[in-house]
Symmetry: C2
Subunit: 356 residues, 2 copies
């Protein structure tokens, strides 16, 4: 049983905005982040929900993030748009770069969006979904901080390096996945440590490079890639394509840049968009329908599509609102100016004790 | 101890050419295939070496493959080149499409090569390496035949769907990987079955969808993806991008098209090329050097780079030639016209008995 407060999605957006604005963020930056946080709460993707406000404000306080950065969109090449985020968060930079990415992909078939000099914020699923909502397929890659050892190694080198993909579907939600190339998310291991639990063998290595079941040892040592040498190869590819190829930090460089401060990773991101209409012309409808047969064959044998849980949550939360643990809610309210003569309860619909 | 014959790389090329030409293949098609077979033997990548000649001739005999197909290169969009392989093998189609792919990527930053209506032959590593040898990064994807169940499912749907990537390095060999998105290659399971051995749990499911250690049950049932639901998601992406996006078969459609004949998969392929020079301009050299620090950090902690075994072999075989089991060699010679007044021994340097 946990005390929870219930917030409408509009409450989430307003709360996020107020926290960010009152901590000195520009309106444009705050609006872009509030949008992603609201989408995450809507999908019950709590790791990118209001919880993120705490780290977000913290990273700003640490002095690394530029709170009012105005991203610069550069028409870099016929099929490449580059956005210099100017050391603000990634969300606004992504939003500003997308229109030119879409235009280039529609004209040329395939195009790339580079984001440089951004502090990581977004869940990549939100970004690739924004592209597939426009009828294009998209991939997105980004490094993070060196926490993961290469297969056969023992020292942290790669980030948790997410890989996301979205495919437009004629009706209903897109086919979307977004996974870390580490065996599990770093937060999973942290949760076990806090809970005094062990972790399964295969999640991490201790500082001597030996497999460990102790979460603290794994956090001090190294996480491992999913899928052995194959996941390790993918993670390397992500370091290269969203690092040197775009002139930005790899995970070990981003970690060094952080100087142990513990801010979110500063790095770049690569998004690739492919336009089925430009690839297929008049054959686009028949081919998108054909893709549906693959999804039917997956679900028809009892397997799930990757984002189904998020889409199910979406139907629910739009009507019922989202539930935020009271303790977390109080922590977030504490980020607001404490001298203001305001009513915290105005942000939420109800408080109740229920199973979370 | 196995009887082996030693062939020079030129022997391999000439033998391959003669087998293909004498079985009715056009010179252009045969030369492109012989080149890939020779590269595979050079790298001791036996699965795509002279062994392939047997299946290659068999697929031609089955009447599906067009032996003298002349691929048509189409300038489809500013960043898309399409090659209609016209139901020949993939190798010549790829060779003919690459120059325009390179030109488009150099001009626009990123470009895609679509191959349609080809019979699968090539190892994707050979293709992405051909692009990185020109200084560009490349990804390549292709479906195959439905042999692999989606994670959480139990029926074969996906192909073994390889994913390949290559990154150009200023000195020495490229960083290249090419892996199946199935847990293991189908040939691995077949080898165990032939040898009367079991397979580890996690390689395949029996026809009831239960994990099995019996290779025959797994071959009759379904293989599984590597890395659980993440590998399954990647495999789905490959079906979509190298299937409906390019207007070509997914693995279950290719399997149906085969009508149980057992030819190699007929399908399409997607190659994406990214030009570091177009992305980075004058910063290209410093960034390619920076990427070397990642490779140094991988090998510096005792981990290996993916294609190192192939590159080590390459140094050896160029000088020493390659060793082919005598039984396989005889099977290949049997593909030549038996009435010809020729000397089989002319193809090889030496016969010896040694450990293979």
């Amino acid at each position: 049983m946990t005390d929870v407060v219930t917030l409408s999605l509009d409450d989430v957006r307003r709360l996020s905005l107020e926290v960010l604005l009152s901590n000195g963020m520009s309106e444009a930056q705050a609006a872009a982040i509030a949008k992603v946080i609201t989408a995450a709460e809507r999908d019950e993707c709590y790791s990118h929900g209001v919880y993120r406000l705490i780290g977000c404000v913290r990273s700003m306080t640490l002095g690394k993030v530029v709170r009012d950065a105005i991203p610069q969109v550069i028409d870099h090449a016929p099929s490449v748009v580059r956005v210099d985020a100017r050391y603000g968060y990634s969300c606004l930079a992504f939003e500003l770069g997308v229109p030119l990415l879409l235009a280039k992909a529609r004209q040329n078939g395939i195009a790339a969006l580079i984001i440089n000099n951004c502090f990581h914020f977004s869940a990549l699923w939100a970004e690739v979904e924004a592209v597939s909502a426009e009828g294009l397929a998209a991939l997105a890659l980004t490094p993070s901080h060196s926490w993961v050892a290469p297969a056969g190694g023992k020292e942290p080198l790669f980030g948790t390096n997410p890989f996301a993909f979205s495919w437009p579907r004629p009706a209903g939600h897109s086919y979307t996945f977004d996974f870390a190339t580490s065996e599990v998310a770093r937060g999973e291991i942290e949760l076990r440590r806090r809970g005094g639990e062990t972790i399964p063998l295969g999640w991490g290595l201790d500082q001597g490079g030996e497999p460990t079941t102790d979460p603290a040892s794994a956090l001090a040592g190294a996480m491992v890639t999913f899928g052995g040498h194959k996941g390790s190869a993918l993670s390397t590819m992500i370091e290269l394509l969203a690092g040197p190829l775009i002139g930005d930090f790899m995970s070990f460089e981003s970690k060094a840049y952080d100087e142990g401060v513990g801010a979110v990773p500063c790095h770049g991101e690569l998004v690739i968009a492919l336009d089925p209409e430009r690839f297929l012309g008049s054959e686009v409808i028949v081919n998108l329908s054909r893709a549906e047969r693959l999804f039917d064959a997956i679900t028809g044998q009892g397997a799930r599509l990757p984002s189904q849980r998020r889409y199910d949550a979406r139907v629910r939360t739009v009507i019922e609102g989202v539930r935020v643990p009271s303790a977390l809610y109080e922590d977030i309210l504490a980020l607001l100016p404490q001298d203001a003569n305001r009513e915290p309860a105005s942000f939420h619909l109800a408080t109740s004790a229920e199973n979370m």
